[in-house]
C-alpha cells in the first residue's frame, strides 16, 4: 500500500524528496481510481527504488487538489525537485503507465 500524504506532510514527503515522487490524487467514490490503485501498488513494488508512489485523498485534502489544479481523477502527478514534471490523467492499463513512466523507472 502506498503512503497517504497530507497537506502537513506534503513538503517532506513530496517536495523535498531526493527521488521522483508520483502523487496519485484519488477519492473513494471514483471507480477508475479504485481500479488503478492496485496497478500503482504493483509498480511501486517493482520500481520503488527509483520512483516513490504516494496517495492524496482529495476528499480529505481539498486544498492540495486545488493547489495543483486537479479537476479530473485519477490524476497522477510526478514531482521532481518540488516541481510537477509529468501529469497523467485517467486510469490506464499497466503497460501504458509503465510506458508513460519509463523516463523515471528505467
Amino acid at each position: 500500500m502506498s503512503k497517504h500524504v497530507t497537506t502537513a506532510s506534503f513538503q517532506s514527503d513530496v517536495l523535498s524528496s531526493s527521488k521522483p515522487v508520483l502523487v496519485d490524487f484519488w477519492a473513494e467514490w471514483c471507480g477508475p481510481c479504485r481500479m488503478v490503485s492496485p496497478i500503482l501498488d504493483e509498480i511501486s513494488a517493482e520500481h520503488g527504488d527509483k520512483l516513490t508512489i504516494v496517495k492524496v485523498n482529495v476528499d480529505e485534502e481539498p486544498a492540495l487538489a486545488q493547489q495543483y489544479g486537479i479537476t479530473s481523477i485519477p490524476a497522477l502527478h510526478v514531482f521532481k525537485d518540488g516541481q510537477v514534471i509529468k501529469q497523467i490523467i485517467g486510469a490506464k492499463p499497466k503497460p501504458s503507465l509503465l510506458a508513460d513512466l519509463s523516463e523515471f523507472i528505467n
Partner: protein, 307 residues
C-alpha cells in the same frame, strides 16, 4: 484449452459468465484492467433494473453481477485483451500483461466507448476542464459554471448529478427536443440550476492549458455565441468497441458486430457477441444482460455440438 472465453465485464459479459459457468463450461472472463464493470461503474442511481424496486448504485449492481458470476466458477481476470485470432477452431486471445489463452468459443461483450466531439484541443483539455465522468469529476466543480453536451439519458443524469456541486449547469443540445426518457427529461427541465440551450452545438473549445469556455453554433440559423465555462462534460453517446475484431467478423453498416437474427452468432463459427457492441437501438443494462444470456446459451450449444 478452455471451453469459453468472455471478453468484457458489463451486464452482458457477467451474465454470459453466470450462464456458461452454470453450464459447467468454467468460463474465463477477461474484464479489462481499469474499466472492469463497464459503463455502469460511472453511473450513480440505477432505477430501471428490474428486481431492485428502490434502485441502487451502478457500481453496486456490477459488484453483484460479478459476485454471481464468480459464485458459479467464472474466473475473472483484470487484464486487457489486445489481440485475438478467432478464425480457426481454436480461438486465440492475447492480453496486455502478456498472457495467451485458447478456447473453443469466444463471447465478445466489449460494449461501447464514449464518443468524442471531434474538435481541436479536445484531447489536451481532457482532464483540464473537459470531463467524461461526472461521478469522478463533479466534486471539483463546486460553485462553478459548467455545461453538459448531449440529449440522451446519460446527459440528463449527468446534468442532474452535477447540480449537487455546480452553481449552474448548461445543458447543450443540438436539437429542439431530447431523446432521453420522459422521467429523466422532466427532472432536468424542472431543475432550477439547469438551463437548456436548445438547437446548439459546441463549435470550438476555448482555453490554453485549461478550458475557459466554448464557442457555440446555433444549428438553425448558424449564429455563433460565446459561453464562459469552468467545465464541460461530454455525453453525446457511445460507439461500439470493435477494434479488436473489425477485420475478423462481419460488421453492420453502422459498425456494430453483425449477428444472425435473434441469436448472438457472428459471421465466425464459435464466436458470439452480446450487449452494446451489437445493439444500435436499446442499449440498456437489462437488454445487455438478456443478450449475454443468449450468447451463453448459443456458445453452450455450439460447444456441445463439437463433441
Amino acid at each position: 484449452m478452455r471451453e469459453v472465453i468472455i471478453i468484457g465485464s458489463g451486464p452482458a459479459g457477467y451474465t454470459a459468465g453466470i450462464y456458461t459457468a452454470r453450464a459447467g463450461l468454467k468460463p474465463l472472463l477477461i474484464a479489462s484492467s481499469v474499466e472492469a464493470g463497464g459503463e455502469l461503474m460511472k453511473t450513480t442511481e440505477v432505477e430501471n433494473y428490474p428486481g431492485f424496486p428502490n434502485g441502487l448504485q451502478g457500481p453496486e449492481l456490477m459488484d453483484a453481477f460479478k459476485a454471481q458470476a464468480e459464485r458459479f466458477g467464472t474466473e475473472v481476470l483484470l487484464d486487457d485483451v489486445i489481440e485475438v485470432d478467432l478464425k480457426g477452431d481454436v480461438k486465440i486471445v492475447k492480453t496486455g500483461n502478456g498472457k495467451t489463452f485458447e478456447a473453443k468459443a469466444v463471447i465478445l461483450a466489449t460494449g461501447a466507448a464514449y464518443r468524442e466531439l471531434g474538435l481541436p484541443k479536445e484531447k489536451e483539455l481532457s482532464g483540464y476542464g473537459i470531463s467524461w465522468c461526472a461521478t469522478c469529476d463533479g466534486f471539483f466543480f463546486r460553485e462553478k459554471t459548467i455545461a453538459v453536451v448531449g440529449g440522451g439519458d446519460s446527459a440528463m443524469e449527468e446534468a442532474n448529478f452535477l447540480t449537487r456541486f455546480a452553481s449552474k449547469v448548461y445543458l447543450i443540445h443540438r436539437r429542439d427536443s431530447f431523446k432521453a426518457s420522459k422521467i429523466m427529461q422532466e427532472r432536468a427541465l424542472n431543475n432550477p440550476k439547469i438551463e437548456v440551450v436548445w438547437n446548439t452545438e459546441v463549435a470550438e473549445l476555448v482555453g490554453d492549458g485549461r478550458l475557459s469556455g466554448v464557442k457555440l453554433r446555433n444549428t438553425v440559423d448558424g449564429s455563433m455565441s460565446d459561453l464562459d465555462l469552468d467545465g464541460l462534460f461530454i455525453a453525446i453517446g457511445n460507439d461500439p468497441r470493435i477494434w479488436l475484431v473489425e477485420n475478423q467478423v462481419q460488421l453492420t453498416e453502422d459498425k456494430f458486430i453483425k449477428v444472425e437474427g435473434r441469436s448472438s452468432k457472428t459471421s465466425l463459427p464459435g464466436v458470439f457477441a452480446a450487449g452494446d457492441v451489437i445493439d444500435p437501438t436499446y442499449r440498456q443494462a437489462i437488454t445487455a444482460a438478456g443478450s449475454g444470456c443468449v450468447a451463453a446459451l448459443d456458445a453452450e450449444h455450439y460447444i456441445t455440438g463439437l463433441q
